[in-house]
Amino acid sequence: MLTLAYTTLALLVTITARTIPDNYNQERRALLAEETLTSVGGKQKLNDEETRANEILMKLKTNELNASYFNPQHFNFSKHYFSYKKDIEKSRVYQIIRSMPKGAVLHVHSSLMLHPDILVKLTYEEYLYACYTHDSIKLQFSKATPARPCANKWALVSELRNNSSDPNAFDAHLRDYFTLYRENEDYDYVDINTVWKRFNKVYYAIKSLITYRPVREKYWYETLKQFYNDNVMYIEVRSGLPDLYELDGTKHGKRYLVELYKNGTDKFIEEHPDFIGIKLILTRDRAQSINHVLEAINVTRQLKAEMPDLIAGFDLVGQEDLGRPLSDFIPILSEAKEEINLYLHAGETAWLGTSTDENLVDAILLGSKRIGHGYALTKHPSLMSALIKKDIALEVNVISNVVLSLVHDVRNHPLATYLALGLPVVLSSDDPGAWSAEPLSHDFFVAFMGVASKRADLRMLKQLAINSIVYSALEEDRKSRLFAVFYDRWDRFIKDVISNESYRDLEVS
């Protein structure tokens, strides 16, 4: 009898040992559901069509990620962006993201928005002189040889190009001055200061090309076209408002460039009525003196009074570790914030507990409307709570953080934590032209595939696009228009995905 009881008991134990207990499963599912609900997009509800599109998207995502999971030696996102950039086009997930309406770009610097291929086209303008030194280039438009000093000698770009044995190679070489991207070079691991030096060189090369007024007009038009074609309907542009010049040497003041942006954008809207427009966030280099920054704030104040719809606010830019910390500018910034909205860069650093890191404290105390990067935020739990309470959005630029040496494997980017916590995140691209990226799609793609959870789906993508509208500086009427344009495009996008023949094989039920 005892034996029988023992055998029965043993049998029972064996049977239960083969299946997962119900309560375990329930608890596990509830826990995962709570995590999804907490995350960015977790509360989005998809309609039937969106659900079908999501199934297609997730099949593609799962296939692509599984291929990487089982072959990590081929997993691109663990390597530098430059090593996989040209493969992105091949991804079917990317094709969907490219065609998806993405709302707005809220963190981008005016001189570094345009793809270098198009910058090279702009060098075909007449009267362009170049001064080559061993690793940099200066450009200037002029009727006669420029009077500015040149370590080598000034020469007309058109003549150099005509005299070169291979004009294509000449252009390719010229393009290298406008971008950090190198297609066939192994990217070495350089420190943040070295990469910023290279980055600044690219910036100065481009700036010397586009401060010529006629080129700047074309530059701006081409830039808007690229962003529009990447399904971006509104942009907030950070600009230091450099002086533009004419062929005869006439210089234009800051106001002139603001008007150029406005007129160029208005013209673009006439041709593309569903483009909502731009706003400017005026900037100054954070390495400059308090006086200079105060001057820039005063210019912002004045321009905002004249063109309140166009000027969104003020920010300080440049390599954060090397510039002055925000705490140096507290008096002038806390005065300014009464009239001008601040959109401060803060915590774009890997250094925990340093002055750069503590810029996050100041950005929040100064009432910054959004925070540029906020890379260091995950290490500051109380600041994170303050950010949620005050609903301050984070402008996250994943590719920028890789290229500018903050993180190598994007799976270690803090965005993963922000997304999991459901923080108010917007994705942006910082300086896509400087690394030959698409205006926004590359950043969306890398964030969705490389950083976010494997389970993150269309709801997260939609929420990120919506966030970019919600946290924009747009006034209510234009914001509603942007939403209307976005939802209209979104519906068409969903219909396109579910009616696309090439996804037929993926559809489940």
Partner: protein, 494 residues
């Protein structure tokens, strides 16, 4: 003059409480963080001042010269410079409590293993990968070349130094150009797997095993560590005649080595065993493992701490596969590896969910935890110790620049963190000091100080598997070691 007026003018406009508010925030963050509510004695404060002066010197130099900041690179690129650091020297001398996450086959470095190859009766097979076996006759196991006596091969070598250097290379992952040799996690884990295959037959020869673990305990103590919980697959030991023993014999060998060591070094607190077999098995074999665990627990309760599963987590079975059996094994304490991955939202990542739900006492690595806010709260509430191994995560291709290691988030939230070293022998690191140093200087806040170090050391005892009475004793013992470290501290000697 104009500038002065401007400043006066602007300062008047500034919120007079601004900097007070700001200080409150910065201080409250430090208070919330690990170690934040500890107070130091005046003598400890002196030590802290010395420590922090050196830390600031190092970090401020690095901040201004990031090209020279080694810790943003691969560990192999800067490991030889670490001993020059004054902060490191202080940490080395500091009592660090316990090591709670370490695998037995990779505790002591390659020089020790090279020495073993000088022993009698060792055969070697010089194939593409070098294999060893102790035997009293030519082994009959497969060999892609042929089995030869190691002593003869060495005698025949033209240059013994070069020959030994070549052999030594088999016992370490360290290379000069890690970025080229280990471009991704695939290459790293392949090399790591090969390391274990080579080392296994050298260490599992019974007489060596007993001595090896004794020497490992010595290495811990030399690094100012006084208690250890070691993970073992419990390899089957063997004799020269080919006799192979059961796992229980290996466990007994542990017990014997620990006893001997504690007799020789009475100030050592002790060691326990976590049975941690490979996760890449089927359910039947797992059941056998659980049986073995129970058997050891019953026969050596004071030695046995609990159960875990090991091996590359992405490539092995997820915990969910074994949940039915693990749920039933209620009498075992679990110390699961979980979330040692960069893959967010995958099965490996979700091992964290199962580790928590299965009631793990501690979690090995938990690298992915920062991406799981709900689990993170549960870890804190249930006080599940997190065994963090920064150097391991860097060497095994999870993170390059340690400033991006999630440990800094765990510290800022005061999660139950313990620092450990995983497999220090395989990458020629200290038993614990290198991990402490890199975590302190490279990962933690610039402002993290002696309180963080002391709390981490205390945590290693608090979250150990010692029973309450033994734990109290161990903590008392730590305080006496700590106090003598503080009393004898002389800043000038660093």
């Amino acid at each position: 003059m104009r500038y002065l007026i401007l400043i006066l003018f602007t300062y008047v406009k500034c919120d007079p409480d601004y900097f007070a508010k700001r200080n409150r925030i910065v201080e409250s963050e430090l208070r919330i963080a690990l170690g934040g509510n500890m107070s130091l004695t005046s003598k400890e404060n002196e030590v802290n001042n010395c420590l922090m002066r050196h830390k600031f010197d190092e970090l401020d130099y690095a901040f201004n010269n990031p090209d020279n900041f080694g810790l943003s690179h691969h560990f192999f690129k800067y490991k030889d410079n670490i001993p020059k650091s004054k902060v490191y020297k202080i940490i080395k001398d500091m009592p660090k409590g316990a090591i709670l996450h370490i695998h037995d086959m990779a505790i002591i470095g390659p020089d020790y293993l090279l020495n073993i190859t000088y022993m009698d009766n060792l055969y070697v097979c010089l194939g593409k990968q070098i294999s060893f076996l102790f035997s009293n006759k030519v082994p009959n196991t497969t060999c892609e070349n042929r089995w030869e006596l190691m002593s003869e091969v060495r005698r025949a070598a033209k240059n013994v130094t070069a020959f030994d250097a070549k052999i030594r290379k088999q016992f370490t992952l360290v290379v000069k150009n890690p970025d080229i040799v280990y471009p991704t996690i695939k290459e790293t884990w392949t090399a790591f797997g090969n390391f274990f295959s080579t080392v296994h037959p050298l260490l599992t020869y019974r007489p060596i095993w007993e001595k090896y673990f004794y020497d490992a305990l010595k290495a811990f103590r030399d690094d100012n560590v006084y208690y250890v919980e070691v993970r073992s697959i419990l390899p089957n030991l063997y004799e020269l005649d080919g006799t192979v023993f059961e796992k229980i014999v290996t466990a007994k060998a542990y017990k014997k080595a620990i006893h001997k060591f504690m007799r020789d070094y009475p100030d050592f607190v002790g060691a326990k065993l976590i049975f941690a077999p490979n996760r890449k098995v089927n359910r039947t074999i797992l059941s056998e493992y659980i049986q073995t665990a129970r058997q050891i627990k019953n026969s050596m309760p004071e030695l046995f701490a609990g159960f875990d599963l090991v091996g590359q987590e992405d490539a092995g079975n997820p915990l969910i596969e074994f949940v039915p059996q693990l749920c039933a094994a209620t009498n075992l304490n679990f110390f699961f590896h979980a979330g040692e991955t960069n893959w967010f939202g995958t099965m490996t990542d979700e091992n964290l969910v199962d580790a928590v739900l299965l009631g793990a006492k501690r979690i090995g690595h938990a690298y992915a935890l920062a991406k799981h806010p709900v689990l993170l709260e549960m870890v804190k509430e249930k006080q599940i110790g997190l065994e963090v191994n920064v150097v391991s995560n860097s060497v095994l291709s999870l993170v390059r620049d340690v400033r991006n290691h999630p440990l800094n988030i765990f510290l800022s939230l005061n999660l139950p963190v313990v620092l450990s070293s995983d497999d220090p022998g395989a990458w020629e690191a200290d038993p614990l000091s290198d991990d402490f140093y890199i975590s302190f200087v490279g990962v933690a806040s610039r402002l993290a100080d002696l309180r963080v170090l002391k709390t981490l050391a205390l945590n290693s005892l608090k979250y150990s598997a010692l029973d309450p009475a033994a734990k109290t004793l161990a903590i008392t013992h730590f305080h006496s070691k700590w106090n003598s470290f503080i009393e004898n501290f002389d800043c000038r000697s660093y």
